[in-house]
Amino acid sequence: MRRRSFLCTPLLLPTLTLAAPARAPVTYAPVTPGIKLAFPRDHGAHPDFRTEWWYVTGALDVPQADIGFQLTFFRSRPGNAEDLQSPLAARQILFAHAALTLPGERLLHSERAARANLGAAFSSSDCDIHIGAWRMNREQRSTGEVLRLQMNSPQFSYDFTLTPSQPLLLQGDGGYSRKGQAAALASYYVSWPQLQVAGSLLFDGQRRAASGRAWFDHEWSTAILGGDAVGWDWVGINLDDGGALMAFRMRDSQGATLFAHAAWRDAGGQVRQFAAGEVAFHPLRHWASPRSGASYPVQIEIRLGELTLRTRPVLDDQELSTSRPAPVVYWEGLVRLEGSLSGRGYLEMTGYAGRLQL
């Protein structure tokens, strides 16, 4: 039987999502400092904000070292159908994206899209979001809380349970994370590093037990990209010694840094914040994508104050092309971190193939 590729969707979505809403745009909630985040409620969705994502990236040791995986759920409220009563109104659009990096070999990925309430749903009281059979949720078990990830696709699927080994890491100022000079350019940003991964992974037609380490991010905002910004570079690294490192910079079209920030929680739990002036990204080696033509600095030297770090990808070609929520071509993949600190985690580079549209 002929099956049409599910990936037809992206071809069509641009016209639909980019066409300007004809009605009065929705008033989104602003991101303001000084809000106290409460959990598990703030693990849930914040539908009044424009965009939100739940982002799990990780590196496995079993069945094979340096297999990278990620599962991301996006929620977007583009301002469509705002005055419709129907529960099916396409107000909240959900996207999900999953990828699997087989080091030195290839990248597998798959995606889903749906409107909330039609084969997809999110909770506003806890982390629980699904599109079809893909799901990311927090479960309170007798042994403590865990995150559960489930996804399936023709090429690969996994079902992971993520057990926290450390408390949450609230980025920026208690979770208020600035993204630019302007006060409005900010998000609420919660990280959860050093999650222990256990579960099963299927690829190449074989189901195998899996274990490793993962990093959870949950971020919601209304505006994070300033007028000049075209994209960002970001890393989230589980350090080998049990510490965690997050660093990002916002770039303009010339590649200059508009804003930057980093946070390092050492093995002892001490958090050190690096202000914009203390963070510098220097490309060491570029990899040009044969598909998009974009050139990504896959090896970057990151200077954080006196620390000098270098990224080394487990696979050069970890470029992705998705429809979330608008068509986006970006690089996101598993890297090893070397230098003053060592560890494994994900590097994300957006805006190299045209300005990022949220």
């Binding site: 599910f6 969707t9 066409a19 099916l88 084969g119 399936n152």
Partner: protein, 850 residues
């Protein structure tokens, strides 16, 4: 072998040049049979493919569809969302489908609410294209998208630039009371050229037209590694009673069921044409064998083996069959193309409305029909070939064609009646059997037996009649002619059997069609009690009209409302109509043409009255209870009775409005029966006119509906009439050929008579008398068989194939007229033979030792 095939070829060529007319006509008859069968096949194939394509374009090609079993039902959102979480499901695409009228246009169009995120995977043909130039909201914000055909129609309706099909224009979509001023935002680039479709976002359709918290259907694409059957079984157990899972196989089975009986009947008619073709080959080959018996005997004496004598006649049959069948294939293709252009894919049958599908011939079926044509000609040639093989050479060489000496002529009448009697009894027994594979196969077999019985009784009757006549005091030539026939009945039998078959088939068709027409006529009387009818096409009638009708100033003494819906009892069968009517539970016969017993329903159980087709398809009887999928659940109902329905072949259920509303149904009338106040008929029509205009309603008086119904009836039998004419022509031609042959065979006899002093006129009269008598036998037996077959068609084939029951109404006047015309034609045909007889040069015939 090569040498022999050359001889064989010489003989075939000689046969073709010397018997050009007969050979050509046999060829044409075979061609006709093949052409009809092939054309029916092509048309039906194309219509089904077209239907399937149309369905696919609107429904896509899902692995399975979750749908409500009744048209008033829907799939709850909760159910849909539960299925969506199943890992075996790749995606489930929800749709809300409804019928709306655009700006009060009369014909409603289909409005499909889609979810663009899931539609892409299942029904990509429905994906809309936004017009970037238009100042129109996008899909999510209420833009609607029209198929090219609809755009063309809109542009045609309002050619001025301001409205028409311009993107950005507002279309007022109306469904009953509800209205939605939607903005045209683009088109549907992948829609089929004749689809009249509107596509909008599912949320907008739900917001304007419902259903609340539910959708019409969920179309499922399964993950590549999941098994459909297992998945279906699992969910079938979990779904609410009012829902069902349909898979692609169900759809094709349903589509095929839709026209199956009709198709089979047409194919049987084609088979009849092919059989008459075989008969003509038989007549031609038999006479040619008889005529060439001396030649074949000579070849036999010279050393042509018996096998080759058999084979040669078969080969000659094939030499007629192959070109005939090839011609038939070409003709069939041409017919198929012409018919689909003129009548559509269902030959006027009304099953696949409005499509003129492309005809695509494929090699395999063409080969099958080619083989059928060859087989028919071989079958026709086989008995002559056998006779040729069995000719005693020495005798045939001396005296020509030797008929078996009829030692059995002396046999008593009674034992010779045994075979026809036995066949007739067997036919009677077959007619009692139930349908096989939902087709009246036993009925068809019974028809064949009746024909064989008729043919088998022909020699007896011929002999009796001719023997008796020749014993009378008649002028000498006539008596001699009669004795000839009585003693050599083979040719007479051949001539008569052609007429028997063709006249029987024609008469039976006339009887069946006439019975049917009389029954439909009476039925229309019963189902159209009111003088006026008002109908809204598939959308509910506006409440303000219903309110106005309830006012005392409305010029009607009585108004009955009816709602139309449909439900699925078996996903492999077409939908059953559900009619909600204002009907008295205690007296349904006042409104329904009830057949059989009427049972009073228990007070606590809702009652339904089912149509005859429904009773037969689902094997239901009055007094039974039935679990009916109604209003999203299964409801136990009592079957109060069965009523006659010629309108809905796939079954209908009537339920009273009270019962329906008590069950929680929302009674939204779509049809009205109206009784104007006496003397105010014109006023009543005038009163309705503005309503009809405003809401696109149809008003018709009962006479008009009756006229229309009967004209549709007549149209659907158009093909049948054409076939009847062909059968009659072939029968008459067979008579002419065989008579001519028998004259030729008796050339010496006739010449002797001539030499003895009979003049040409006397000889010619004798031959014509012979023809007339043979035709009389043929027509009499044909008429008897025709009545028998007509009864089988009416009482067995029609109920079993179409579930239509009716009384036998024999149009004697038409039959007698037909018989008279046939006789006259037969006499004319025998004139041709008579002329040949009198042209024989007496001296030469006598001189030749043949």
């Amino acid at each position: 072998m090569q040498a022999l095939s050359r001889l064989s070829w010489w003989l075939i060529r000689a046969q073709f040049t010397t018997r050009r007319a007969a050979t050509l006509l046999s060829m044409l008859a075979v061609a006709l049979g093949v052409a009809l069968g092939y054309a029916i096949h092509l048309i039906n194939d194309a219509a089904l493919a077209d239907f399937a394509r149309a369905m696919k374009s609107v429904q896509g090609d899902p692995d399975a569809v979750i749908a409500a079993r009744d048209s008033a039902g829907s799939v709850p959102l909760a159910t849909l969302n539960a299925i969506a979480r199943d890992p075996a499901v790749l995606v489930i695409a929800a749709v809300i489908e409804t019928r709306v009228r655009i700006d009060n246009a009369r014909t409603p169009v289909t409005l499909i609410g889609i979810d663009v995120f899931s539609a892409a995977a299942v029904m990509p043909d429905l994906l809309p294209r936004h017009n970037e130039q238009a100042a129109a909201p996008n899909l999510f914000n209420g833009g609607v998208y029209a198929s090219p055909a609809l755009l063309a129609k809109l542009a045609q309706r309002a050619p001025d630039s301001d409205s028409g099909a311009r993107p950005g224009r507002t279309l007022t979509l109306v469904r009953g009371e509800q209205q939605w001023p939607a903005t045209l935002a683009g088109d549907l680039p992948a829609a089929r050229p004749d689809d009249l479709l509107l596509v909008a976002d599912i949320a907008w359709v739900q917001e304007r037209f419902g259903p609340v918290d539910a959708v019409s259907e969920g179309r499922v694409r399964l993950a590549p590694d999941s098994d459909l059957a297992t998945w279906r079984k699992k969910w079938a157990q979990q779904l609410p009673a009012g829902l069902l899972i349909r898979v692609a196989d169900d759809d094709s089975a349903r589509v095929s069921n839709l026209s199956r009986a009709y198709r089979v009947n047409l194919n049987v008619l084609a088979l009849v044409a092919l059989l008459t073709g075989a008969f003509l080959v038989f007549a031609t080959q038999l006479t040619s064998v008889a005529q060439r018996s001396t030649q074949f005997a000579l070849l036999g004496v010279l050393g042509l083996s018996p096998r080759m004598r058999l084979l040669q006649v078969l080969l000659e049959g094939l030499a007629i069959g192959v070109p005939g069948a090839l011609l038939g294939l070409g003709l069939g293709y041409a017919l198929a193309v012409a018919f689909t252009r003129l009548l559509g894919g269902d030959l006027g049958g009304g099953y696949f409305a409005g499509s003129a599908p492309p005809i695509i011939p494929l090699p395999a079926p063409a080969l099958v029909f080619l083989a059928l044509g060859c087989l028919a000609s071989l079958a026709g040639a086989s008995y002559p070939a056998y006779l040729n093989r069995m000719q005693p050479l020495a005798q045939a060489l001396k005296t020509g064609f030797a008929q078996q000496s009829h030692a059995d002529t002396a046999r008593a009448t009674l034992p010779r009646l045994r075979l026809p009697l036995f066949l007739a009894l067997a036919a009677l027994a077959l007619a009692q059997l139930p349908p096989l594979f939902a087709l009246p196969l036993a009925g068809y077999a019974a028809i064949a037996l009746v024909l064989v019985a008729g043919i088998a009784s022909a020699p007896l009757l011929t002999q009796l009649l001719f023997g008796w006549l020749s014993a009378q005091a008649l002028p000498a030539p006539q008596r001699i002619a009669l004795q000839n026939v009585a003693q050599a009945p083979l040719m007479a039998q051949v001539a008569a059997s052609g007429l028997i078959v063709s006249f029987a088939l024609t008469a039976s068709m006339v009887i069946m069609v006439s019975s049917f027409r009389v029954a439909v006529d009476q039925w229309l009387d019963h189902v159209l009690p009111a003088p006026l009818y008002l109908r809204s096409k598939a959308t509910p009638l506006p409440q303000d009209l219903l309110a106005a009708l309830a006012q005392p100033d409305a010029p009607f003494t009585r108004v009955e409302r009816m709602a139309n819906a449909s439900l699925i009892i078996d996903p492999q069968r077409p939908q059953v109509a559900l009619l909600v009517r204002e009907i008295d539970r205690r007296d349904p016969a006042a409104r329904l043409p009830v057949t059989g017993p009427l049972l009073a329903p228990p007070a606590t159980t809702p009652a339904v009255w089912i149509s005859e087709p429904m009773a037969e398809i689902y094997r239901l009887a009055p007094g039974q209870t039935l679990r009916l999928p109604l209003l999203g659940r299964e409801i136990e109902v009592f079957i109060g009775g069965v009523w006659r329905d010629y309108g809905r072949q796939f079954g209908a259920v009537v339920i009273s409005r009270q019962d329906y509303q008590q069950l929680g149904g929302d009674f939204q009338p779509t049809d009205l029966a109206l009784w104007p106040r006496p003397g105010e008929e014109a006023h009543a029509s005038a009163w309705l006119a503005p309503w009809a205009d405003q809401y696109g309603l149809e008003v018709a008086d009962s006479a008009e509906i009756r006229r229309l119904s009967l004209s549709i009836f007549d149209k659907s039998f158009a093909v049948t009439y054409a076939l009847e004419a062909a059968a009659m022509l072939i029968g008459l031609f067979g008579l002419a050929v065989t008579l001519a042959a028998s004259v030729w065979l008796r050339a010496r006899e006739l010449a002797t008579l001539g030499a003895l002093g009979f003049d040409r006129r006397m000889l010619s009269r004798a031959v014509m008398l012979e023809g007339a008598l043979i035709a009389t036998v043929g027509v009499l037996i044909g008429l008897a068989c025709g009545v028998g077959i007509g009864a089988i068609l009416t009482h067995v084939v029609n109920p079993q194939a179409f579930h239509w029951r009716m009384a036998l109404a024999i149009p004697w006047a038409a039959l007698v007229t037909g018989a008279a015309i046939t006789l006259a034609a037969a006499v004319l045909a025998s004139r041709h033979a008579a002329r040949q007889a009198t042209r024989l040069p007496v001296a030469q015939v006598l001189a030749s030792a043949q």
